[in-house]
Symmetry: C3
Subunit: 274 residues, 3 copies
């Protein structure tokens, strides 16, 4: 289904510029290397503008934002747009505080995002910011399940149409949607929520997959979501054979991403098109 | 001895807001998840004020402080006080530089701490800041041992009476004291000092344990100290069965915290009341 | 060849102050502990000035620099010079952006570095900043190989003469040079480039080795480079016996540094003097 996508990442080594939070930044850098990409972190306004121009993609993650980094995100995002680089937004905690919500809105207004990835709460906040989903709150509950799947797919497609961005909603069931097509992905494992950074890592993975496959953006995004979820499953299979706990699981997760090949990915996909 | 305390953490999933140093922040987040809590990091002044209001506890760790984060710590600490959230101070390096010492004093003056956790040098600096321990320097040497245990217990109880905070002094022997009661804890392993962040992780663990057991603050704090020490022992037992070094030990330590259950904790306690 | 150097680190426990990037800072701290040293991170201008005075060495790593930390680096570097502490520069990304290049030049102008460690591109940028290597670009290509080894050794020796710093160029082949003597080191493994932070970790290791062996600076620097490379080999040997990927490799690398003894180091050296 995703022929060539993973191997393109390994062959092209996309350079991904991340303005990201300091909690999970090391995992993000290591996941980019593990998948075949290469990370650069730079958040000083002047430095970030130049660094992004030598990169192939940009990640804006608002996890531990502050005044200084918000300004950098806005300027760097616009520059990446000018350069036609894919730009991926991770609106960590949007909806949980005014600063995060307003920064998300500001970013959405000034930067064109190729992909927006978050959990359902964050993505609902994004929807409010675009004014495209008045009233949707009543329809979409806080975790995507089979019960609300149809509504959530419809919500994601509309949001994609409204924003022009691919929408990736992750949780027990993951959705990757554009205006007229959505992937429903059931890869992943509950242990992934017992370590910090799986969301941040996935956002960076999406940027690398997208940058290496610019002609197939929706598939590249879906492939990255599947790759992360499948790696989470493989990590769990390895964990149960050991004495390990959550920290071993983190190691095994990044290990699995580094060892994942196209055949394993294709064989492990749990995905449908809606 | 600590019936229900550990399980309360796992059942209530306390949300712990940390303004903490960037050296060990990832370990702190992962330990909070491992113990059954949930971490949020936010250090922008405006963001931190709002984030703390949706949390159950606050950690202020001065490990890599700067002007911007000091202001956030002061305001957020006061807000958490207004909300009656437990607030735990980790005065990393207090006594080693003027900025750290003065920031500790400022925090002690403006914020009411539920627990203050540090090594003996840091806690002695705290004592100076409260003006409660004139002359104590001569009595308390730099590591708690059986030789100076009686004096150090007395010092810790007096400091607790003076500050209104539970005092946790960690080292080869750990003390957890309030004005009229102290726990002496002999859990732990020397390997814990060969990795960075065990102190920072423990401070966060205390916040989670306290937040989930607000009616038993002293026991919750002591249980967290025992849980970390026992996990350090279990990690060492696992390490010697492998080729591992210090980095494996870090992994095993967090693994042990994630796998610790109430029965193992009760069975492994090395604690006495003074 | 390096008798006593490793054991001096373990016996003297040099305290290394790092103003370093937030991507790899945790690994840097853990590597310093693993080798027998002790880390302190402080980047606030006022705090850093005081902290450096209680330390034995200073690392300036420009990986995620910003206006605030640049000012701290300049002042702290000068203070460390006054105190005759070894100061090691890691010009991460020098040449990739104006801010990084100009900051490198400013640091080189105002601070006397004991050692400068970088990849060949970064070191070539350093050379431009010192004005010592006009035209050298044509001679030195981007990775040190046997084909360009003679020219690169000559380049490194000249740069050392011009700067008064030991020059450490790392890559598939590592060079450690002073004006009239260079070590060519073939320890290491390609997997080291599949995780983030091996360069940053090595820079810190050099600072610890240098601080514990001030009377043998060139040998101490070369020994640190060999220790890191050999640990990379040992980590790989361990990796192939497991299911592990890149994250396990990171763990095994730091493990190997923590377990390395003088005999293993001497027996594993792949080094020649030129």
């Amino acid at each position: 289904m995703f022929e060539g996508i993973l191997n393109n990442v390994r062959e092209k080594t996309p350079l991904v510029h991340c303005i990201t939070n300091y909690v999970t930044v090391n995992d993000v850098a290591n996941v980019l290397l593990a998948c075949g990409g290469s990370p650069i972190m730079a958040d000083d306004e002047e430095d970030a503008l130049e660094i992004t121009s030598i990169c192939n993609a940009l990640v804006l993650n608002i996890g531990t934002l502050n005044r200084r980094t918000i300004a950098s995100m806005l300027k760097t995002g616009k520059r990446a747009n000018e350069l036609s680089h894919p730009v991926v937004l991770d609106p960590v905690g949007a909806g949980a505080s005014s600063l995060r919500t307003e920064t998300t809105f500001k970013l959405l207004k000034e930067v064109k995002f190729s992909v927006i990835r978050g959990n359902i709460s964050e993505i609902k906040t994004v929807a409010k910011g675009k004014g495209t989903t008045r009233g949707v709150d009543a329809d979409v509950s806080d975790v995507v399940t089979d019960r609300n799947l149809v509504e959530t797919i419809s919500f994601a497609k509309k949001l994609s149409a409204g924003t022009g961005s691919i929408i990736a909603i992750t949780g027990p069931i993951d959705l990757v949607a554009e205006a007229h097509k959505a992937y429903v992905i059931r890869n992943g494992h509950p242990m992934m929520s017992k370590i910090t950074g799986t969301g941040c890592m996935l956002t960076a993975l999406i940027a690398a997959y997208y940058a290496a496959n610019p002609e197939r953006p929706l598939e590249a995004t879906a492939a990255a979501v599947c790759a992360m979820g499948l790696s989470g499953e493989l990590a769990y299979n390895r964990l149960v054979q050991t004495d390990g706990g959550t920290s071993s699981y983190r190691t095994y997760l990044i290990d699995a991403i580094s060892k994942l090949d196209a055949q394993t990915l294709e064989g492990g996909l749990r995905i449908e098109i809606r």
